[in-house]
């Protein structure tokens, strides 16, 4: 399971405030705690209206000093994503993201073609998120065709089939999983990821939706998530699910994560 730590994102109010106040220590703390919690990538999204690239440079610099993890450069502007790659030195990371929308792929794919960088690809296009699995799979095929053209192999792609808010669409997970199964069967080495918390938007006790979503999507073949790795409930469910899916011999990873105090009671005596 590849965990992309989501906390350094200016659209999260506390992080946004820290970015506005140039609060280095807060950003460093987010990088550190997500690293300790077992993240594989640190997502970095400035989410500012002006000077986005400068803010990305500042954030990435802090992350690089605080953590050995690769960066997942996150911006709605693909040009900012590729321009920020140079701040990552020789650390190969991810671009977050392209989609079937506009010329995003045309900007990102040529730049990462001859590198080892990976890329998150959302299954939406100029008309938004296709409501059906068929519609999203059509976007996926378009993305794959383009990736193939640039020699970007499936294992470098992190497909996010996108979740709609369950409160507004009761078939949200069903559609998501249909996409997951189709894509994984066709390209076993491809990664499937999800910024999964959107599924529970507008509902009370959101973790009661987020946690079973994680389980069901992992069971369908999702092998990555953009989430808060320091969330103890999600961590426990994540490790428990990996064990149940036969991906953890003798539950030793589960036990290790427990011992590393990533889930379970905080005070143990």
């Amino acid at each position: 399971m590849i965990i992309i730590g989501e906390k350094i994102n200016g659209s999260i109010p506390k992080t946004g405030a820290a970015i506005a106040a140039k609060d280095e220590e807060y950003i460093r703390m987010l990088a550190r705690t997500q690293t300790e919690a077992g993240a594989d990538y640190i997502d970095c999204c400035a989410s500012v209206n002006e000077g986005e690239l400068e803010v990305e440079e500042w954030l990435i610099g802090l992350i690089m000093e605080e953590s050995d993890l690769p960066i997942c450069i996150d911006s709605p502007d693909p040009q900012v994503c590729v321009d920020a790659m140079k701040f990552c030195g020789d650390r190969v990371g991810l671009i977050n993201s392209v989609s079937g929308e506009g010329n995003k792929m045309d900007i990102v794919f040529p730049v990462i073609a001859d590198t080892k960088w990976g890329c998150v690809a959302l299954l939406s296009d100029d008309s938004g998120i296709p409501p059906t699995a068929e519609g999203r799979i059509a976007v996926f095929e378009k993305i794959m065709a383009k990736a193939t053209e640039y020699g970007i192999t499936p294992d470098r792609l992190y497909i996010d089939p996108l979740v709609e808010t369950l409160g507004a669409n009761s078939e949200s997970l069903i559609t998501f999983n249909e996409c997951v199964k189709y894509i994984k069967e066709k390209y076993p080495t491809i990664h499937i990821t999800s910024g999964l918390s959107n599924i529970s938007f507008g509902l009370p006790v959101r973790k009661m939706i987020n946690m079973p979503f994680l389980v069901l999507a992992m069971n369908a073949g999702m092998d990555s998530a953009i989430m808060d790795p320091t969330n103890r409930d999600m961590n426990g469910v994540l490790h428990g699910t990996l064990a149940l899916l036969g991906e953890d011999d003798f539950c030793l990873d589960y036990i290790e994560a427990y011992r590393d105090n990533l889930f379970g009671p905080i005070n143990r005596d």
């Binding site: 003798f250 539950c251 030793l252 036990i255």
Partner: protein
């Protein structure tokens, strides 16, 4: 003894692909087979203690025992050649009507870790089987009985009575355990010892040799 420290560490961590080669290396360097065995027995003892204290978990015991087995496979010929005697002999089984074997297997592994040679009769073992075994193996000094259900606890009683009826009760010590079993029950059925978990069973059994 860096090599034996390494072996101890790898056994505790359940690295079964590494324990065999380490044992072989130790033998190649001319170390005493008993000393090599003791390193692994130490490791299992530490794991057993941690388990008793709730600091380690069932799968960790299983992989540690598996790693030790991988080591002892390599060590056996050398031990036999050196004439090293086991600490003693015991027999273990889950009683009639009961199919649970995880706890029984853990006890067996930790007892083996103490250097005891153990025959495992498996699960759902009828009283007559224990009688037959003890009759045929005068070297066997301890009988370990496991029951995981309140409904199969009476089979412990029946097994002890069957041994008594066959005139074999005084030849052996009887240890019992399993989730519903208590010290009180042990006294009631005339067992020699009750232990609440695998680690304490292994610590107890050595007193009987």
């Amino acid at each position: 003894m860096a090599l034996l420290d390494d072996l101890r560490e790898k056994t505790m961590k359940g690295k079964r692909k590494e324990t065999g080669p380490l044992v072989q290396q130790a033998l190649d360097e001319g170390m005493d087979p008993q000393e090599i065995l003791d390193a692994m027995i130490d490791a299992m003892g530490i794991i057993g203690d941690r388990f008793t204290k709730g600091e380690c978990f069932v799968p960790e015991m299983l992989v540690a025992a598996r790693a030790m087995n991988a080591g002892t496979e390599i060590l056996k010929p050398a031990l036999a050649a050196g004439g090293t005697e086991p600490l003693g002999h015991a027999v273990i089984g889950t009683v009639a009507g009961d199919m649970h074997d995880i706890g029984k297997n853990l006890v067996r592994m930790l007892i083996e870790g103490k250097g005891v040679e153990v025959d495992d009769l498996g699960v759902d073992v009828a009283p007559e089987k224990f009688v037959e075994y003890v009759g045929a193996h005068p070297e066997c000094k301890v009988v370990c009985l496991s029951a995981l259900l309140t409904t199969t606890m009476p089979s412990i009683d029946a097994t002890i009575k069957a041994l008594a009826d066959a005139g074999l009760r005084d030849n052996v010590k009887i240890m019992i355990g399993g989730a519903p079993v208590t010290q009180e029950f042990a006294e009631e059925v005339g067992a020699d010892a009750y232990t609440p978990d695998a680690g304490s069973a292994a610590a107890k059994i050595v007193e009987f040799f």
